[in-house]
Amino acid sequence: MILLDHAAFDEQSINANLGAPEYSYWFVRKAFRPMLDRLGTRQAVADPYAEADAIYRAARDRGEPCVLFSFNPPQYVPLGLECPTVPVFAWEYDTIPTESWEGEESEDWRVPLTRCGAAVTHCQSAVRAVRRAMGDDYPIWSVPAPVYSAHRPRGTARGWQTGVRLPVDGAIVIDTSGMDLSLFLPDTMQTLGVRALRTLNRAMSEQGKRAALQLNGVVYTAVFNPDDGRKNWGDLVDGFVWAFRDNPDAMLILKITQSDIFAGLLPVLSHLARVGRYRCRIIVVQGMLSQDAYAAMAEATSYAVNTSRGEGQCLPLMEFMSAGRPAIAPTHTAMAEYVNPDNAFPLPSRSRLADWPHDPREARRCHDYDIEFPSLVGAYQQSFRIARDDPGRYRSMSEAASIALENYCSDDITLRRLADVIERMTGHRPHQPQPSVQTAAALSHATALARSLFKRPVSLGRKDTSQ
């Protein structure tokens, strides 16, 4: 069983391209790779048109099945190969593009999806959107990126941090509290602000970007690319300041996934410069963290925060919740499958007319969601009280978060569904590995205990209804 994988970004370019439009496809591909390794012989292809068919024909001649997983939005999936090709893509709207523009036939996703004959996405709302256009019998599977096992809890989560030291080497870290951000007001942002960031970057590069944060109180973390308007991060920041302006025990870490320091930091600092003085702590972290540093950040976090207009799955939220961090997040799109009142402070949201984000015509053909600001403020305030005053409730939310994510994106679920996909494409079911030692360990003492604590299963065993 040969499993080819391809994405527009590769290992070498991701650091430079962090925050570029398709960067998240690289992360998804990275998360799927160990699963493909366990289902067959995985082989990366850099140029599918040049490589895939040769590998496919050689395999066919040996009698060995071969499939190409293309981690790309459908319009960029290679078409016309002999090798069976499965697009793997994220989608957060209620309709898929069913029109083409600028003469690009593939912009109408029905074209690539029909020619590929099957597809993989990461949530049920995307499955519904595809079936709305392709028919109820179109073979598409919801296979979330299997992030649970790599991020599952390392210990008991704490809602209230006291003197936690968090190393953030390799990143630019700006503790904005008490800082004069007036450089970043609109009239000087592009002159003084750019100059200051350039100087800061140079200085921090020289000293090797070694930094550590001292965390106290309740720590909220949001991971996002400020260039991505869908993240609605302005509300996220404003709600925090509104809830905690004079509370130094409330801390918000804004982890920026955008490699360009200007694109990453200017909009955020400029926004913070305009919210007025605050005594709560807001810390901006820009740069690629090591896996250990990222895991430590999740460990030091009390709550993960998301205020998006729509998510195809939301890897950072899945990672933090897998690690047992309860969330503040809306329950629309992909979040509907793993955010609930047991593990989060769900934010009500309203649907709005929107356009497909890559449609240059800006035709309004789909919907996204707008959260309600007072609910966000209320969620911040309530979550703070629980973290500070009710450790028992916090712990049960933490455990519920981890369980919900195990049920959403464990290795087992991914393996089983990918096996379904491969069987459909090749006629051969790959050897299904037994639950690995790691996966079995995931049903650890804490998890088992947590399950027994709940009278009813907490979103247990969402049936695999995608196929």
Binding site: A263, R277, D370, F373, Q381
Partner: protein, 728 residues
Amino acid sequence: MRRTGINRARLPRKLFSALRRSREPTKTPDPDPAEAVGPIRSSVGVCDGITGDRLYGWARDVEQPDQAVVVEIFLDDELVGKEIASRSRPDLAAAGVGNGRYGWQFALPLDLPVGVPIEILVRSDDGRPLDAGAFTLVLDEPLTPSAEPDEEVAREDAAPISPIRGHCDGLRGDDLYGWAQDTEHPDVPVVIEVSLNGELAGETIASLTRPDLRAAGLKHGRYGWRFALPRALPAGVPVDVEVRIKGGAPLADGIFSLDFDPPLAPEDQRRCDAFVRAAQSLGGEAAGTDDPSPAPAAHFILHAPVPLQAANFGRPEYSYAFVRQAFARVLAKLGTVHDAPDAATADRLLSEIEARGESAALLCFAPPHRVLAATRCPVVPVVAWEFPTIPVASSADDPRADWRLGLRQCGRAIALSQFAADAIRGAMGAAFPVAAIPTPSWDRFSPLYRPGGAPTPQTVRIDGFVYDSRGRDYAAAAPIPFPPEPTEFGAFEGVVALDGIVFTSIFSPHDNRKNWKELLIAFVDGLRDRADATIVLKMIATDPAIWWWRVHDALNGMAPFACRVVVLHGFLADADFEALIAATHWIVNASSAEGLCMPLIEYMSAGKPAISPRHTAMVDYVTPANALVVDSTEEPCGFPHEEGGEWSTTRHRIAFDALAGAFANGYRIARDLPDDYARRAAAAHDTMREFCSEAVVAAQLDSFLGLNLSAQNAGESPSQLMKMLAAS
């Protein structure tokens, strides 16, 4: 000059993903600050011309005047350069255009061919062409480099303020009228002042539509003015009148002696009196005048500061003039009404009134920091305000920016809504005497209510033009035609026949609080396939460019659709305003905050149910019985007068799905459920009688000005978010 449309689809393909959705700088590997200026939403600007090899002009973002606009220069459809409009232009500063640093210039390639037409297009990077920014250039000789382009351009443009021309046409009824135009800045209305017997009597703005002026070639013709003479002018005594430009020279024919109501021959006088008496006895409402009561001893001196900077034209302050007008009608029932353009006049009036042993109050229709200060009169500010907090920050040079100062000096205030009254109490304490009294609108509009009758098809004429989606083609990324020049309005048929289910919304497109683009999109979303559904947007604006591009953007993005969009741009005469009401089923509002919303209360007084959120002022009169209430939630914002300010207050976010749903629901009710519709119409009419009829408002004014005040609210903030802030 040839006109050309812009084809958006020809622009460079945008990157995949949501990069473009960000209002923040676009990503560049090593951003040059010059390149990193983000997209601008609302630029205005001009391409002034060519000097030497320099194409030059100016551009400004009206919503974010501190952010430089980037202009893009296209030659024959090819983008050849971008310039930042941030050069100093003293002439702009002198004309009151912000700080004047909005100039740009672009060095044209010196090798441009001679004698060959070259299509030039200059636009701001939000896609909007500058005025005179699209033309065909044919060179007679090769371009020569400009020696000192900067100074040269600046000097050439730094023209002195040009003379204003105008005329006083005469007297019509009690009104003086005429026209005036600033030939150098023809879009900036001229302020006219009138003095009687050497004393300043008042001011007016020359901005009324005058088709005869347009026909005579005076651009759009909106240069007319009218000035109401005081009723109290003594009959039979000549008055010396001088009509002049404010602070400047008299208008032509502007100095004369007016013999107001010269004495009649005794017989003529007798016949005249007899007619008046007979006419009065016929009208049942005037029966009371048969039994004349003694002249009221109360006096009301009214003052509404006309914002003198013409740059403020169309700004919210102007609506205070309408509020003043409506209150004057009611106050006349309670006492004698006087006008005071300034403190000196107010004090003189007060002295005269006091000399007769009577009393007076000065009502200032203005926010507390703009009320007349140096006066002996007791001052009552009448305040329109749409936020749950009031400005309390001040600076050394402007201590009155803290509204509490002015409010404390006045000692009491009238707000147009309970919401605003609560905001004032929140800052001044629960005991501060503030009454919520709306503008009396019911009596004027209630006669248009037809109990049980459905709205009927109407023809509406407008002095301006009608934009109608019928007969126009829309498609995603379709080229957007140019808006008509104001001078071309005459070429448009200013007539529209309205039928079917009609939704009407009236607003200034300059006012960002109105959410009008969302309102339009929600209408199309809710009623896309209904060819008999119409939305009428009555735009209060002088230049259609302010809404043209946004309307097209919205409709192109929504195509295809069958429902109808009508924009009325221009001035509606009373009969046509009433025809529009008669054709309307629902009056629509989607604002983020309102101090009162006069169109809403006027239409509701006429028995038109509303589609509206229920927040800020609307809490006082929008109910589920008289409106389809649209869900909204609070969010923080700054005060409108603060530039890039911190959040001092809150406004409301409209739930889009609820708004679209309300349109669909409103359509269904109006078309299929006539009884339900009639009940809502009656409820609207009845609510307004209790809310803003002259009788109700007069009683409230009487009670409040006599200080028989009952506090309605214990000073609790009307804002949920503000309470959450206090709790945290």
